[in-house]
């Protein structure tokens, strides 16, 4: 099963992501902001990164840009969670190198579907 | 698993229930303990006597890091109990006292087997002629050629 990193400043979102994905057998690591997420991604290989965009210390866009600089993360799917009904933000994240997005609020099935789509054996 | 005692039901048929029990020996008597209250059976461990405690709860033992009381139910029932032998076991049971679950070790001279008995095979406890205190015995039940005692553990230990 896949190693997944969830980066969000909201513990409840992280917990939900973790619950949903662990129940599908994935190994979920957590980070509370972009900087922490970047550190974790440098230390361990992940098959998928799920990140919020609006976070303290380092936001999601900066995280995505930084992650794409890491050779190990070239080609690794990075999905951002967004509540923005804001196309500019979404564009920015895509241009930073994100693979896709999930719009909050989402249901566990949607999360499963996206992860299943992007993480394949 | 053995199914003993398959004699026909008495004419005055009470509701017949199959009880799963652990048979333990105390001196010359055999007691049946319901398996749902049995947590584990262990070899004897060192005892710590508790000065000032009631005589049938003389000691404490360490069972996997938990300190639990050890009960001498033979003493409580008024039965003679043999000296410690290689057959001696501690039967750890969970009972309810005033609504709280409590774990207690029981000293058994011997542990026989887990078996099933039919409640329809039970007899009321005789009030006279018994060598043991009848207050703590719910009923007696037939097991092969023997009559075994079904104690009321809650009553026995509180």
């Amino acid at each position: 099963m896949a190693a997944i990193l969830t980066v969000d400043d909201s513990p409840s979102i992280r917990q939900m992501v973790k619950m949903v994905l662990s129940s599908a057998g994935h190994d979920v690591a957590e980070a509370g902001n972009g900087a922490e997420g970047l550190e974790k991604a440098k230390a361990q290989r992940f098959d998928l990164v799920l990140t919020d965009l609006n976070m303290p210390v380092m936001n999601g866009i900066a995280l995505i840009k930084n992650l794409r600089q890491l050779p190990a993360l070239t080609g690794t799917p990075i999905v951002f969670l967004t509540t923005e009904s804001d196309d500019a933000m979404k564009m920015e994240a895509k241009q930073a190198g994100a693979t896709g997005w999930i719009t909050k609020p989402f249901k566990p099935e949607q999360l499963h579907a996206v992860v299943a789509k992007l993480v394949r054996a | 698993m053995d199914i003993q005692a398959t004699a026909p039901l008495p004419a005055a048929a009470r509701a017949d229930v199959t009880l799963q029990v652990l048979m333990i020996g105390l001196g010359s008597e055999i007691l049946a303990i319901r398996t749902e209250s049995v947590r584990e059976i262990i070899d004897p461990v060192p005892l710590t006597l508790v000065p000032g405690a009631r005589s049938f709860l003389p000691a404490l033992i360490n069972v996997r890091g938990n300190v639990i009381p050890l009960a001498d139910i033979a003493l409580r029932l008024g039965l003679p109990r043999g000296p410690e032998t290689p057959d001696t076991r501690f039967v750890v049971v969970e009972i309810e006292v005033d609504g709280d679950p409590i774990i207690v070790g029981l000293i058994a001279d011997k542990v026989f087997e887990v078996t099933e008995v039919q409640s329809a095979q039970s007899l009321p406890t005789p009030r006279i002629g018994a060598r043991w205190n009848p207050d703590f015995i719910q009923f007696m039940i037939r097991w092969g050629d023997e009559f075994v005692l079904m104690p009321d553990l809650e009553l026995l230990l509180s």
């Binding site: 409840s12 609006n54 920015e92 909050k104 | 006597l49 009631r54 006292v97």
Partner: protein, 683 residues
């Protein structure tokens, strides 16, 4: 083990609302502060997003408008001002209500707040607050025209699409899930192997999909890569021929677009991210500045942690014992290291559970204010040692006993202003509530400057209720203990507040259940004080392991004053009385072998451990002192409630159980023993 995420959200929201409030209050002072606006925005943003996730729909929809407003402020489109701050504070209170009671919280205040916000923002020149609806694109979900059985799809990705984590083959698999596919790859753009960049996607595809699906179903497959590809979808048979488009990357204009800086939000994006980067740096600074960042933990988890640490300490004790019995120096060294770590872990874990007493003391201000008014006794309330920390569970259990003691102090202790005047005291009484550490104990004292305890009246009352024989000799200390007797009250007139005799016995029981004691001290005319002695924690204590006969016991180290040897001289001087002459002091003693019914005679040179609680001392005569022992307290089961001499048990190094002596109980026993002896002595 996982928490309900909705519960996590509630806790998180409570913290976010707090930080929102402080950001808003600060913003009221410094309306131009971008950092504060950012902080408020982020709090609102998270509340909205997480709220929607966990079914707090009303929270999400209400918060939305404020989030938008702060986004506009953040982007400099409108300015923060006093009105917005005030309104946002109201909004924050409303959000809290919506989270606490999502169902029955009334709609009206929220609507009023939102409409006020709309007005405010409209006045500020921003015409609309509502965000642009998410551009979902025109919903063209036509199924293929009649008679047509499927679609022809032409797919060409931008070369970098794979670097961004997309998987073209997986997308083709998704298409196959829609129906029967005939896929043709166009590899014309793929260069010689030597020139091949493996992460570039240079293949394009043409797919004939025989399925009864809609155009939207197909577009959904490519949702995430829609802007990184050319996608042509046409009904089968519609087009003349399947022309596979060239990869867009090879189109000069597309290539150029990639070279230049992001073009789409060209006007706003660069400034945007510059702002954000600055904000990020500020955030980083603020985070490090922020003092005492906290994490909420459920109390049960702390208890669980404490249990684990307890188990570790027990196992560590066994390891140490085995290591020291052997000759292996390396194992000894490891055992010592583990002992050090376990003891550090124990202290840290206990530290996590510690709460300053100040949190409790604050609650009594109001009580004293009200009592003082109702009784017509002006009282000055002084607290000392608010920083003294005590185990969280104990602080909670202390509240009620302290209420009783403070009530008694005002009601019985402090005299009326008139009486105070006649004895030359200031009209205003004084009650001091103090806490301090003494060794491994915390002493909490309630002291008043009233008349002091009326020992004669307590005695009269005891005699009256048959607790004490008329004229029987008894020390003042013992007489004061009647105060804690159930149903005992000395108040001449029963006041509404105290004096019914309920309380003091309950206070004593509560304190004893916490392994604590109460000392009473009083000076006639000057006042009295009640001192609660409490262990720092309920779970682990430092103990002294001793042997009596065949059994080993633990004596709490905090109660031990000294250990001496019972020499034949000392024994001779005792002359059969249960009193020892310890360097000129008479100390009563208890022979534990007798008390515990250990058979046989002791070897000579027994040890005396002198224990003390408050003013009372007693010597415990025992056989051997083994050494100090970190003692994890295991409570005795209900079945052994009658084993009163012990406060619990613990597991010692060899895995066996040792009982922990209840020193307070032993002291009481020694007292009764002496009281019983005294008439004989007098005769």
């Amino acid at each position: 083990m996982d928490l309900d995420p909705a519960e996590v959200f509630r806790q998180e929201a409570a913290e976010l609302l707090e930080s929102l409030e402080s950001a808003l209050l600060d913003l009221g002072q410094k309306p131009g502060d971008g950092e504060l606006v950012d902080a408020a925005f982020r709090a609102l943003h998270t509340i909205k997003g997480s709220g929607a996730m966990f079914g707090f729909d009303r929270v999400a929809s209400f918060t939305h408008d404020f989030e938008t407003a702060f986004d506009l402020i953040r982007k400099g489109k409108i300015a923060a001002n006093h009105e917005i701050v005030t309104l946002s504070l109201e909004a924050k209170d409303h959000i809290r209500l919506l989270i606490e009671d999502p169902i029955s919280t009334s709609e009206a205040p929220g609507q009023r707040i939102v409409s006020n916000l709309q007005k405010l923002l409209a006045g500020d020149g921003a015409a609309t607050v509502s965000p642009a609806a998410m551009a979902a694109g025109p919903a063209e979900s036509a199924i293929p025209p009649g008679g047509q059985q499927g679609w022809r799809i032409r797919i060409a990705f931008a070369p970098e699409v794979m670097r961004n984590g997309a998987n073209p083959l997986a997308l083709l698999d998704d298409l196959r899930e829609l129906g029967q596919c005939t896929i043709t790859a166009n590899t014309d753009a793929v260069p010689e192997l030597s020139a091949l960049e493996p992460l570039d996607c240079l293949i394009s595809w043409s797919v004939e999909l025989a399925a009864d699906c809609t155009r939207a179903d197909i577009e959904d497959v490519f949702l995430f890569v829609r802007d990184e590809m050319d996608l042509v979808i046409e009904p089968l048979g519609d087009a003349e021929a399947a022309v596979v488009p060239e990869p867009p990357g090879l189109h000069p204009e597309v290539a150029q677009q990639q070279d230049s800086t992001p073009t789409r939000p060209a006007t706003s994006a660069p400034t945007h991210s510059a702002e954000r980067d600055a904000a990020d740096r500020n955030d980083a600074v603020r985070r490090t500045d922020a003092k005492g960042q906290t994490v909420r933990v459920q109390a049960e988890r702390l208890d669980e942690l404490m249990d684990r640490v307890g188990e570790l300490v027990i196992v560590q004790a066994r390891l140490s014992q085995i290591a020291h019995a052997g000759a292996d120096l390396a194992i000894k060294a490891i055992a010592e290291e583990i002992e050090r770590l376990a003891s550090g872990l124990r202290d840290s874990t206990m530290g996590v559970r510690m709460v300053p007493m100040g949190s409790l003391f604050g609650r009594f201000r109001r009580l004293i204010h009200d009592l003082s008014r109702d009784l017509g006794k002006p009282v000055e309330f002084v607290t000392v040692g608010e920083d003294t920390e005590l185990d969280k569970t104990m602080i909670e259990r202390l509240a009620d006993p302290l209420v009783h003691l403070i009530r008694n102090a005002i009601d019985h202790g402090i005299e009326s202003p008139e009486r105070r005047a006649t004895s030359g005291k200031a009209a205003t009484g004084r009650i001091e509530l103090s806490a301090r550490y003494v060794g491994a104990q915390v002493l909490v004292t309630v002291q008043d400057d009233g008349a002091g305890l009326d020992t004669a009246r307590i005695r009269a009352k005891a005699e009256e209720s048959g607790l004490l024989a008329l004229g029987a000799p008894m020390s003042d200390h013992d007489i004061h203990q009647f105060l804690f007797h159930p149903g005992f009250s000395t108040a001449k007139t029963v006041s509404a507040l105290s004096g019914r005799g309920v309380g003091m016995d309950v206070v004593k029981r509560t304190i004893e259940a916490m392994r604590g004691t109460i000392d009473v001290s009083t000076v006639a005319g000057k006042g009295s004080s009640m001192t609660l002695r409490l262990p720092l924690t309920l779970a682990i204590i430092d103990g002294l392991l001793v042997r009596v006969g065949r059994s080993r016991y633990i004596i709490p180290l905090s109660a031990i004053e000294e250990c001496i040897e019972l020499t034949p001289e000392i024994e001779a001087r005792a002359r059969g009385r249960n009193m020892l002459d310890v360097r000129g002091d008479l100390v009563p003693f208890l022979k534990l072998r007798q008390l515990f019914c250990e058979p046989g005679d002791p070897k000579p040179f027994q040890k005396i451990v002198i224990v003390t609680i408050g003013e009372t001392r007693v010597g415990l005569v025992l056989d051997q002192i083994i050494g100090s022992h970190q003692t994890v307290i295991k409570t005795l089961s209900k079945l052994q409630a009658d084993a009163a001499m012990f406060s619990g048990a613990t597991i010692i190094g060899d895995g066996s159980v040792a009982l922990i002596l209840d020193v307070a109980q032993l002291l009481t026993m020694s007292h009764t023993q002496r009281s019983a002896e005294r008439p004989a002595e007098a005769a």
